[in-house]
Symmetry: C2
Subunit: 556 residues, 2 copies
């Protein structure tokens, strides 16, 4: 075995949900696997997204050879604009993943300066001392890979996100054979495996399991049919479009993320829309309701999403009426329940039939992550010397480690690490050697609704240097009306002529309130987000400052 040390350095995603990012280092060469984001918790008011702190990479910027992507979900690619604006390195990904990345970089005007290199499952490529073999896996998204990284000390397999779907809708099978080969000759130094669903027993159902439910839904729906899913769920979008065609419904796409990712999937041939099936949102009213199927963004009740707006009757094209059917074909992500159920309540009040994940069979949604038996299957195939749980909160990684410890014969030693831990491998074994600075960088990504998002990405520290603004709005709980002139508390706005600015800012808030429906005003999540967005736009324009804006609702 060659002298030298391999370092494994997770920068995000180990011990927290989202912003997956992992560095591998051998001497003077570093590769980075994924660069994801996480969506902020409610405690971090006034922030759009959260990305990993990459101080370690910046301190070693001359050593970083590239970023290799496993797949195109936001928690794996969403941090790229931030990382690339600080660090110009080539990005490697499969065709579909790169197509999503291209869109994202174009929005941030980073595309021209970034080198994107397409990789294919089974075709090895080399980055410094690392030879990387992408292995085809199945997941809720298409064109996903695990990575077998050949290092001087042995192979490190990083599973990315996966489930073992025996019947994927695109017929591109999980490449069990390659996993088996690596395990056969005991060449695997370490297996790094997705912990997301470690608490679930048995097997995760195939993507095809949803078809039974969709069939039921299409057969029964009488009015318009609205289907919402994660915009990246290409399998699900394909299924919806295929069935719309079978049931003779026109398809309209509503919401920016849904439109974008469907267009990419169409371009690359993952989805086919028969001639004449796709219509523009503006054409919806030209067809009878029973001939319409609308794919719409906003399954998590995000306050400004198309579906949330439609639910409170505030979307130009997506009008939901009595007898329409709304399908939420997605998971209810923990932390989003209140917002989602509030949106569902609004939909029920519109007298729509609402279908959502309720444990019934056939399921309206299936997970994209491997359950316990699949996790064990991969361990048995790969037979790693070291096993390291990745992608999960602490409890999930812990349970995954316990599972691995029970896999006698398949798994050598189990190691637990969290973001920031540096694990060192050499001929003598493995050990944690240091703790590097990691953490969450909060980003305020520019006003929503703008076509081109701002390039300037700022962290929370800068935001607080730019001061903060707390608009305080008193809403009467009985009437939903606004009781007094909005009060505004500011700090760090010394340069601004206070009186005139205050008056203008109050006028902006009043306008936002006037233009909102009573239902929006009763939904504090929605109204806060609207006030924040409008105030941000106003303050950016008049002062070119980007303060932290945190609306406070006083219910009186």
């Amino acid at each position: 075995m060659p002298a030298g040390k391999l370092h494994l350095i997770p920068l995000g995603g180990l011990g927290e949900f989202g912003m997956n990012c992992m560095a591998l280092r051998w001497g003077d060469d570093i590769i980075v696997i994924d660069a994801g984001l996480m969506f902020p918790e409610s405690e971090l008011l006034g922030v759009d997204i959260v990305v990993p702190d990459i101080t370690y990479l910046l301190q070693n910027r001359d050593k970083v050879r590239g970023i290799v992507l496993t797949h195109g979900h936001e928690d794996h690619i969403g941090g790229l604009p931030w990382v690339l604006s600080e660090l110009r390195v080539p990005v490697f990904g499969t065709e579909f993943t790169l197509a999503l990345v291209e869109n994202k970089l174009e929005e941030h005007q980073l595309l021209d300066d970034t080198e994107l290199r397409e990789i294919r499952p089974g075709t090895r490529f080399t980055l410094g001392p690392f030879t990387i073999n992408p292995i085809q896996v199945t997941h809720s998204l298409v064109d996903c890979v695990a990575l077998a990284i050949h290092t001087p000390l042995g192979v490190v397999i990083h599973t990315g996100d996966f489930k073992v779907d025996p019947t994927p809708t695109d017929n591109r099978l999980f490449d069990l054979h390659t996993f088996a080969e690596y395990g056969k000759d005991r060449s695997v130094l370490a297996l790094l495996q997705d912990s997301t669903n470690v608490e679930r027993r048995g097997y995760t159902p195939s993507e095809r399991a949803v078809r039974g439910k969709f069939d039921e839904i299409f057969a029964r729906a009488e009015g318009r049919l609205f289907i919402s899913c994660f915009s990246s769920s290409i399998h699900r979008i394909k299924l919806a479009i295929d069935m719309a065609w079978e049931y003779k419904r026109k398809v309209a796409l509503i919401g920016r993320s849904m439109t974008e990712s469907t267009e990419i999937a169409l371009d690359l041939g993952y989805v086919d829309i028969p001639e004449g099936t796709l219509i523009h949102p503006g054409q919806i009213k030209e067809f009878p309701p029973e001939q319409i199927c609308i794919l719409i963004s906003g399954t998590q009740g995000e306050p400004m999403s198309a579906l949330s707006r439609a639910a409170v009757d505030n979307h130009k094209h997506a009008r939901i009426e009595r007898g329409d059917t709304v399908v939420l074909s997605s998971r209810i992500i923990p932390g989003n329940e209140k917002a989602i159920y509030r949106m569902i309540d609004h939909l029920f009040r519109r007298e729509a039939n609402v279908l959502y994940e309720d444990g019934s069979s056939p399921p309206v949604h299936v997970s994209g992550h491997a359950s316990q038996e699949e996790l064990k299957l991969i361990m048995n195939l790969v037979k790693p010397r070291y096993f390291i749980p990745i992608h999960g909160e602490y409890r999930q990684m812990r349970l995954h480690a316990e599972m691995a410890r029970s896999m006698h014969g398949a798994v050598g030693q189990v190691l637990m690490m969290e973001s920031g831990d540096v694990m060192e491998f050499d001929e003598l074994g493995a050990r944690k050697v240091e703790k590097i600075p990691v953490g969450r960088i909060c980003i305020d990504s520019g006003s929503r609704g703008d076509v081109v998002e701002d390039l300037i990405i700022k962290d929370r520290r800068h935001l607080s240097e730019d001061g903060f603004v707390l608009p305080i709005i008193a809403i009467n709980k009985l009437t939903g009306s606004v009781e007094s002139i909005p009060e505004i508390v500011m700090r760090g706005f010394a340069g601004v002529t206070e009186d005139g600015f205050m008056q203008e800012a109050r006028r902006v808030i009043s306008k936002t309130l006037d233009e909102s429906t009573p239902e929006e005003k009763a939904d504090y999540g929605v109204i806060k987000e609207k006030i924040r967005a409008d105030l941000k736009r106003f303050i950016g324009k008049t002062t070119s400052r980007r303060p932290l804006i945190m609306p406070v609702i006083l219910e009186i």
Copy 2:
């Protein structure tokens, strides 16, 4: 049929989760069923509890004959101190329910002025024109009843909260026969039924189903065994104590709510503790870990609860160490996931074995509410002329209504109503006649940790008249240290000499921060609550004001 009109007036709980309260009126007589609270959503920062607006009852105060309680859960009795401080009327409840109420009223110094009258299942009593027959039902709590209310127009059956448990741990069976009798002669005007679990298929498992899991846990646990459940889950507490005795572990009670309700259950004979089994928390350290079982409050990750504090190693008696077992024998209430999983992560970091609801069988928790087949069973037994879903969010009541509409032969007509709707019944039928003012009253119930809670209950309007205080704390995300002197934004504190007060308030915050563990400081939910509680106490003492206090954490 007599001339006259029966009015059904829900004041809370219909279209929202919690604060159940329903008025029935015939001419000049009103009775009220339950007076619950709800716990505030995160949007309502700075508020402890939420209770229904009882303006309608206050406007008709001379007509209110009494409040009849179905059972002792907070969402049915928690609003009583608020209601009774405004309206002195007798309160009717079963023995156990009244014991819980007594404690609550004593805390608020309302006990001496309140008339409590014990009711028993099967023993009718009369209030004005209403004769009320309490019917024994099963639920997660003991001594629960449904109410058959004989009115001049027929019987109204209010189920309270229930499941149909064929094998309750106290052997007090669900009184199916009385429900059957009311249905047999078609005397039931309206059935008002709990909608909480309408989305669940099949039957809810019996409370006894948990025994299998507890057996497993007790047999395997090597260190200390911590069991947390809702303090009102007397069945669960009985089970834990019985098994502790079988497995030769001493039992200690930690946390105020757990101690209080266990003591009541002991007093009333619902739970037996064999001589020598119960020890004081201070004695825990005198026994080896494998001889200890601790019942502890805080299953929902409430920031100031005993278990949350133990999880971050900040509880005097509840020290959790490697090899200890912690059981969360309760539901993960939507909205609390983040806090609960954060607490579980802390417990895993202490290297405890943590068991929580994960879908495995036997279950570590079972619901107390009826699933679909039980709901249908009651409809079939009761055969009401009108069916009205109660206790649920809008979507749940809607689904419940749809289920009832499919019950041909059993259910006459289905009516949907929400809090504030007035439903009128007479010899011609039923109709909504008006909308009365209802809503949420936000209450700041006094500093937590005080032995006697403040009597003064104030709503949010008063709070905002008392001004508000926003302490802004910058915490370094890497080191967990506080970066600068806490900034404090205040409004409505004209009478206070600002400078001295500010300095003192800053000192209070700094002290709270100094006395908190790094884990507490990293958990923004916990640290915000601690700052709020300490600042509230300080401001109350120095100014006798009760402003709204909303800590803001800036992560930098």
